[in-house]
Amino acid sequence: MAQIFHPSTNTISRVTIFGGLILLIVVVTGLATINESPYITEVGVARTQPVPFSHKHHVGDDGIDCRYCHTSVEESSFAGIPPTKTCMNCHTQIWPDSPMLEPVRESFRTGKSIQWTRVHNLPGFVYFNHSIHVHKGIGCATCHGRVDRMPLMWRENTLYMDWCLDCHRAPERFVRPREYVFSMEYQAPADQLALGQKLVKQYRIQKLTSCSTCHR
């Protein structure tokens, strides 16, 4: 018999083998990266809203406290989305006829609510309670980021389970004194761990990693 294959097939076959391996690795890591990327997690992706409400302006410039609008954050699992009325409390005097605020005024006239785009969304089977986190000294900014620097709201963290676990396993790394919970400027001290351990004791913070802590 003559040769079936050209000498080059040797190289080709080896290249295919090792190439295949490399390709596999690339694909897997690629998928993992995509999964962690803003494309999936929406981290840092500013969402458009019916009214271009700027936390940067209201929190950063005007210095309005979180709780003025998110009234139930200390009492309830749900922080509360302010009713149109809350907006109108000020905007009947301030910018009473700015076109930008027309949707708000319309909603107030018609009683039809403004349809905000949800930014922080957890799957239905995750039960998160704002009030207890706030009570135990987890700052708004810890999860929601520097809202006072967000013209439009975006998601600061992935909200993936392992992200939650980071804190639930080692709260001392993130906890802050209660008086600073609603502060945006608060900077974690250099000795956060020392402080953290102190607060963990003081606030009786447990490391809750049981499934039923969040899933029921």
Binding site: P83, S107, G124, Y127
Partner: protein, 1017 residues
């Protein structure tokens, strides 16, 4: 691959966010959904407003403030206004105003067959989601029954009628009211000679006032009463004995000996919840005393109460009045008629009973059954009188029901009037007489003679179909009204939500009849009570009444009564025209009709929760059957076959029999019940509905075809023929023997007195099973539960409550047949002793929360694990559905979603869901969690106040509903907690502990208190 949302999104887990709890997560989203707008409808300014602008407390209060004024205004605006905004006063244990994500609780009452039971309703953002008992209400004491739990499903039932129909065509309220007015005009001329109003039992003072008002306007009009579930014999009996229709009340806590003449007072009584509590309180052995009351039951069918009796005498219904006479004679009631001899066995039994009664004069109670003829009631009164019980254990008050009448007679009269065309205008308020009334009368047929009739009801049912007009009724959770409890205590009923389907209350209809079509029921009720209360502080009183859930001191005060001599009535035979032409061949038997334990007379036929609830003793679901004793079955050559799929935990093929009474026939499956009296059969009503809705239509068979007005509850002779056909019945537990396993441990108080440890000591697991592993230390909370088998009466309240609290799905008969029902807690029923009169045990079985949980060990993905508090967590969203855990669960308490059982489509059911519990999707395992959502809420609340959770602060749904407090939950690390103390009682034992599962749920053994004279020899 983030958090299990990917393909599952298509298959439910994702959708469930839309269904389950999204509602309060973002109100904007909520108000956005088209579906929700439909749901809330245009009928309700307040809620619409509340929802569209995330009602904050300022707005909430303004709404409340404005409501009264609004009521007036909108009243004037249109003849048929949407119900205006009205004030609601939240209950104490809730934040001062609505906080998004936090439930509110409101007090009202559920009217069941006319009588009220106080309830607290949990409301999430204006959506009632759960009904609990009102601890301060005399008829509830904080407990509920299955029907009450399921009533919230009825509220959201998509099959409820949504439109006014005239001769089947959709009409409007305006059209109806004008048509009504035309008729009424013509009636005015004749002083309402042709006007008839048909109601069920009425206890509502306001409704009574309205009726009287109407009868004043139309002096010749007539008010008839007919209740499918009751017969009002009690009042007739009282009339016999006292000359007045007194209400009879019992104080069972005072009674050492209770004799029930077919009285199913633990289940079928307006006071059943209270009676159950009082009855069990006297049997709670691990409560210091080792004394207990003793219950003698004389009945024909095997009732729930009978299954809890210390001694049962099962005799044919026709024999009961006779036996009552004999008994009466023995307890020295003057009886003229001489007593026929009775069998030596009965003689012995009766002898012991009489001795017991004599020994407990003034501390005993004779309770006649609701469905026993008046004479039995009268005799019972006489006996109580003779035994000196009156004023001690038995009390009499004025009747709670307004104008008590013999329903049979009242209805007969109505039909006669229809026949004679005397009733031209017929207004039917609630009820479903076209179905519930005996077929012999052909009520439907006669209706055509009247020239105007209207039916007000929740559903467009059999009666609506034959009436000229059908108008949708408002559900009790949508209504302003008032109702009296068994002892007369009044509750002002307040709506939790404005009518979803634009229903009206009976008040509004009667107001229209009285010529005030525009009056809303809030006004009517409010004004009535303003009229009653002359004091200037009415508003405060009104507020308190709403807030507390009842009007303090409105209970009727006991009357001291004098019984007539028995000789005056004791001979009057109960009317029982044995018309059935006693045929010898085929064998003719006596027949007993009883309301179904779950769906009563069919009024709850479309309630999936109740249909799927295993009936207390038979454990049947979705069907009724012809119940009979084993002996009778053998005599008729009837048998059964265990199905090949499902089997004893699902499918039983029962022989179908043909029943004939007075030439009217129907067919139904025969079901053999140990302990049923021989030579008689029991048939439960409420089935065979033709227009119940998509759930309840065409289930079982209709016994009303056979009934006559004379034999409403007991028939003399019914022919029962075997047909040869077989019918698959869905039975969740057919195997009633313990196979020598120590599942329910039982003994007698006698044994307990001798040696309190007698049950534990005979057990194998005295030596604790060893383990190689160190085992876990639970240093925080350690949740545990203790279930008192001795206190469990098997009423199913816990099962229904669990289902309601945990968003349990309804799987349907086909799936139950396959053994796939989804109840997280079940009540196992075991028999012991001879089949004609067995001992019965009821054992609630939830998840045992084993410390060494076998299920966790075998789960490949860690979907079920142990929490720091020692809970056996079930993580639905992690579950891949290998079902290995269920195989390895010795208690078989795990339930699996073989299909997409939870209804993610029907919009109207979504607001019903408990937002704190995940709605399970297809392919995941689920099980009892000790209501972990309540645990977590309590823990968070405690943490925020920097304290520990108090004992009793957490009540799982089952414990909360239990009428007898048989279930106690708590922290077993706390030596002071009730659960810990119960677990240290000598009667405390664990289920299958020899497997070293170390269950956190343990049981208290059952103790019976038999009469030695009957027991031995």
């Amino acid at each position: 691959m983030s958090n299990g949302m990917d393909p599952a999104g298509l298959l439910g887990i994702g959708q469930q966010s839309a269904g389950g709890r999204e509602y309060w997560r973002s109100l904007e989203e909520l108000a956005g959904t088209e579906a929700f707008k439909d749901l809330i409808g245009n009928h309700l300014p307040r809620h619409a407003a509340a929802f569209t602008s995330a009602m904050d407390r300022r707005e909430f209060l303004t709404l409340m403030g404005a409501s009264l004024a609004l009521a007036g205004i909108s009243g004037c605006l249109s003849p048929a206004p949407a119900p205006p905004d009205e004030k609601i006063v939240p209950y104490v244990n809730q934040p001062e105003a609505l906080v998004p994500g936090k439930p509110l609780y409101f007090a009202t009452a559920i009217p069941v067959e006319g009588y009220g039971r106080g309830v607290l309703v949990e409301s999430h953002m204006g959506r009632p989601t759960k009904v609990e008992g009102n601890p301060q209400h005399p008829a509830s004491l904080g407990a509920t029954d299955a029907v009450t739990q399921a009533s919230v499903l009825e509220l959201y039932d998509p099959d409820r009628s949504r439109v006014i129909t005239n001769a089947g065509r959709v009409a409007t309220w305006d059209a109806f009211f004008s048509a009504l007015n035309v008729e009424l005009e013509s009636q005015r001329v004749t002083q309402g000679a042709g006007l008839r109003i048909l109601t069920e039992t009425v206890t509502s003072p306001t409704l009574a006032a309205q009726l009287q008002e109407i009868l004043r306007i139309f002096p010749k009009a007539k008010w008839h009463q007919f209740d499918g579930g009751g017969g009002d014999y009690a009042h007739q009996g009282a009339r016999m004995a006292f000359g007045q229709p007194f209400e009879t009340l019992y104080r069972l806590e005072e009674a050492d000996v209770i004799v029930s003449l077919d009285a199913d007072f633990l289940l079928r009584s307006p006071a059943s919840l209270r009676y159950a509590r009082e009855f069990i309180n006297r049997r709670r052995i691990p409560g210091g005393s080792d004394e207990a009351n003793r219950l003698y039951m004389i009945e024909s069918t095997f009732s729930l109460t009978g299954s809890n009796a210390d001694h049962r005498l099962a005799i044919a219904p026709s024999a009961i009045p006779q036996l009552a006479r004999t008994l009466a004679a023995r307890v020295s009631v003057q009886i003229s008629a001489e007593q026929p001899a009775i069998s030596p066995a009965q003689e012995k039994w009766l002898g012991a009973l009489v001795k017991d009664l004599q020994a407990h004069r003034g501390r005993s109670a004779i309770m006649p059954g609701e469905y026993q003829p008046a004479i039995v009631h009268a005799l019972a009164h006489a006996m109580n009188d003779a035994l000196g019980n009156i004023g001690k254990t038995v009390f009499y008050t004025d009747p709670v029901a307004v104008n008590p009448t013999n329903h049979a007679e009242s209805f007969r009269e109505l039909v006669r009037d229809l026949e004679e065309n005397a009733a031209q205008v017929l207004i039917i308020l609630g009820g479903n007489p076209a179905y519930t009334a005996p077929a012999e009368l052909d009520f439907a047929g006669h209706l055509v003679t009247s020239n105007f009739n209207v039916h007000l009801s929740l559903y467009e049912d059999e009666t609506s179909a034959v009436c000229h007009w059908h108008i949708p009724q408002a559900h009790y959770l949508e209504s302003w009204s008032d109702v009296r409890a068994y002892d007369g205590t009044v509750t002002i009923m307040q709506p939790l939500i404005a009518p979803l389907y634009g229903g009206r209350t009976a008040h509004e209809i009667l107001a229209a009849v009285a010529g005030q079509a525009e009056r809303a029921s809030y006004e009517i009720v409010h004004d009535y009570w303003r009229g009653q209360n002359k004091a200037k502080n009415f508003d405060a009183a009104w507020r308190t009444a709403l807030h507390d859930g009842f009007i303090a001191g409105s209970a009727l005060s006991p009357r001291n009564v004098k019984a007539k001599p028995a000789t005056s009535f004791e001979t009057s035979e109960p009317k029982r025209a044995s018309s059935g032409a006693a045929t010898k061949n085929p064998p003719s038997l006596e027949v007993i009709y009883r309301p179904d334990p779950s769906i009563i007379d069919g009024r709850f036929a479309n309630n999936g929760w109740l249909q799927e609830l295993p009936k207390p003793l038979t454990k049947l679901t979705w069907d009724n059957a012809v119940l009979m004793s084993p002996a009778t079955a053998t005599r008729l050559g009837l048998t059964y076959r265990v199905g090949g799929s499902g089997g004893e935990h699902g499918t039983i093929y029962a022989d179908v029999v043909e029943l004939e009474y007075d030439g009217r026939r129907t067919r139904g499956p025969a079901w053999i019940v140990a302990g049923h009296a021989d030579d008689c059969v029991t048939i439960h009503l409420g089935y065979g509905r033709r227009r119940a809705g998509r759930v309840g239509t065409n289930l079982g068979f209709n016994a009303n075809i056979l009934r006559t007005l004379d034999t409403l509850w007991h028939g003399a002779s019914i022919a029962v023929r075997k047909t040869g056909a077989q019918y698959a019945l869905a039975c969740t537990q057919f195997h009633h023997l313990m196979e020598g396993r120590d599942l329910v441990r039982a003994g007698t108080i006698e044994q307990y007195r001798k040696n309190p440890k007698f049950l534990i000591e005979r057990e194998s697991e005295k030596e604790a099973p060893g383990t190689l592993y160190p085992g876990y230390k639970y240093d925080g909370y350690a949740w545990g539960m203790s279930i008192d088998v001795n206190a469990c009466i098997g009423c199913n309240a816990c099962v229904a409550a669990c289902h309601a609290e945990n968003n349990g799905p309804v799987v349907g008969k086909q799936e139950v047949l396959r053994g796939r029902e989804m109840h997280w807690i079940r009540i196992d029923r075991y028999h012991r002793g001879e089949p004609n009169n067995p001992e019965t045990y009821h054992q609630p079985v939830p998840c045992m929360q084993c410390e060494n949980a076998p299920c966790e060990l075998v789960c490949p993905v860690g979907a079920t694990t142990h929490s720091q508090d020692g809970l056996n967590d079930m993580v639905y969203n992690r579950c891949v559905g290998t079902r290995y855990c269920s195989n390895n669960c010795p208690y078989k308490v795990r339930r699996f979603n073989f299909f997409l059982y939870s209804d993610f489509k029907t919009e109207s059911l979504k607001p019903l869901r408990n937002p704190d519990v995940t709605v399970r999707s297809r392919g995941v395992m689920e099980k009892c969690t000790y209501c972990v959502q309540r645990i977590n809420q309590a823990k968070i609340a405690a943490e925020k106040e920097d304290r520990v959770v108090r004992d009793g602060e957490i009540e799982p749904a089952c414990q909360q509903a239990c009428p007898t407090r048989a279930i106690i939950f708590g922290n077993i690390n706390d030596p002071q907690s009730r659960v810990t103390q119960l677990k240290t009682q000598p009667l405390s034992y664990g289920l299958l502990t020899e497997l070293n599962t170390r269950p956190r749920t343990t049981y208290q053994a059952k103790l019976r208190n038999p009469n030695p004279e009957i027991e031995n020899g």
